[in-house]
């Protein structure tokens, strides 16, 4: 989970990863403006079928460009980038803990 209620956006991202390290499914819940919800939704579409490394490479600028976000809404796409990075890190941590 990334963001803060006081800043007006919080995103929770869940990923389902298969044995080959490929993201099979992704789901989000977001408290935030329309742009934050759209960024979250687009991110889940994009990460499906990617490897963890590949998914962690997604840049906020790509999201902002795809959604044509205005300058004041760029931070919404940053939130989405933070979310996938945090999710991948969390998954790897949990995997290491199991091993």
């Amino acid at each position: 989970m990334v963001g803060a209620p006081a800043c007006g956006d919080v995103m929770r991202l869940q990923i389902k990863v298969n044995a080959e390290g490929i993201i099979e499914d992704a789901k989000f819940k977001t408290y935030g403006c329309g742009s934050a919800i759209a960024s979250s939704s687009l991110l889940t579409e994009w990460v499906k079928g990617r490897t963890l490394d590949d998914a962690a490479q997604i840049k906020n600028t790509e999201i902002a460009e795809e959604l044509a976000l205005p300058p004041v809404k760029i931070h919404c796409s940053v939130l989405a980038e933070d979310a996938i990075k945090a999710a991948v890190e969390d998954y790897r941590k949990k995997l290491a803990a199991q091993a």
Binding site: A6, G8, D9, T30, Y31, C33, D82
Partner: protein, 350 residues
């Protein structure tokens, strides 16, 4: 135009010679605040206002600070009402002006002009009131009220845009440094040819002002009753000292802008209409002591002459549906439902 001046004076029970035409309440606020400060700067350099004023008051105050004046911005009580004792203790020897709005544009709370004005008189401080949200919506009698200057605009009371009014008291006399020079119109306080057609139209429109408060109060209550049973929904601002037309409601765990986007058929705003270009949560709600999160989750509805019961019922239904949908999407709602204390979490501000 002089007929319109008389019509406005009748509405406020004052002398037509106390009415100065301007381009809008913003100009009236500027003329009153800067005009007093500059004219009386020999007497003192201190002004008092509040943190929930309209930007048309706050920004001229900021400008005066840059010019060497001192301004105290008071925090209101959580109800939105001025803390009278704190106001009294803030007045100094060199205080020349106090400026407080009659009715707040975001939360609709009504300040007690009689009490504030009496304190100003006792302390020989001029009293300016931004009454953009109250004139025409409630009775105002300037012969009795201890108010020296009052700003408002025609379009907030179903008149045309482009017409503003500044009331300037004659007894005891209030003097102003003009902000617009060039011919000495409006008794030297505001030069420039006036927009006669809109002013005349405004005067005429005053005849239609009337007994709609009861109907609008009922609509406001209907709107609030329609959502009040939902979980974690709060009505903002003093429920007792309140105008009928404004309803400010917080829907916890739902962000205001996404809620507005889910309600394309309703015209409303998060924060004030004038600051909706900003991403910051409402500075008015924050000044009441509300946390950022709840301020982000607040909407301002207004009901007026053209609102019907069907409109209100439709709005209630749409709002309920949109809030439920967005809460389904909200991680904060999940956490609330799971009994997690959101304040106990260390959030990464960004």
């Amino acid at each position: 135009m002089e007929l319109a001046r008389k019509q406005v004076a009748d509405l406020l029970n004052c002398d037509p010679r106390e009415i100065v035409w301007t381009s809008g309440a913003t100009e009236s606020d500027n003329l009153a605040i800067k005009g007093i400060a500059q004219f009386y700067k020999g007497k003192g350099k201190h002004l008092i206002t509040s943190k929930i004023e309209h930007k048309a008051v706050l920004d001229p105050c900021r400008q005066l600070e840059r010019e060497g004046f001192e301004v105290t911005y008071l925090n209101p009580l959580p109800s939105g009402l001025l803390d009278i004792e704190e106001f009294k203790s803030t007045i100094r020897e060199d205080t020349i002006l106090a400026s407080f709005m009659h009715v707040n544009n975001e939360i609709g709370v009504i300040q007690d002009l009689q009490v504030i004005g009496d304190i100003c008189r006792e302390n020989k401080v001029f009293f300016h009131v931004d009454a953009a949200q109250s004139v025409g919506k409630m009775p105002i009698n300037l012969t009795e009220l201890p108010v020296d200057l009052m700003s408002f605009s025609a379009h907030k009371m179903y008149g045309p845009k482009g017409v503003g009014i500044l009331y300037v008291r004659r007894k005891p006399r209030v003097r102003l440094e003009a902000q617009m020079h060039g011919g000495g119109h409006e008794r030297g306080m505001r030069s420039g040819t006036l927009a006669t057609a809109p002013i005349g139209g405004y005067g005429r429109s005053l005849q239609n002002l009337g007994a709609e408060n009861q109907r609008i109060t009922a609509l406001r209550q209907r709107l609030w009753d329609g959502v009040a049973d939902m979980e974690e929904v709060y009505l903002n601002g003093s429920p007792d000292q309140h105008v009928p037309g404004i309803v400010n409601i917080s829907f916890a765990f739902v962000e205001g802008e996404s809620l507005i986007m889910s309600l394309p058929e309703i015209a409303l705003s998060s924060g004030s209409a004038c600051t909706s270009a900003s991403l910051e949560p409402s500075y008015v709600l924050r000044a009441l002591g509300m946390n950022d999160e709840l301020a982000h989750s607040s909407l301002r509805f207004s009901v007026g002459r053209f609102t019907t019961e069907e409109d209100v019922d439709g709005a209630i239904e749409q709002v309920r549906r949109a809030v439920e949908k967005l809460r389904e999407l909200s991680p904060l709602w999940d956490m609330y439902k799971d009994g997690v204390d959101l304040d106990s979490i260390e959030w990464a501000a960004h």
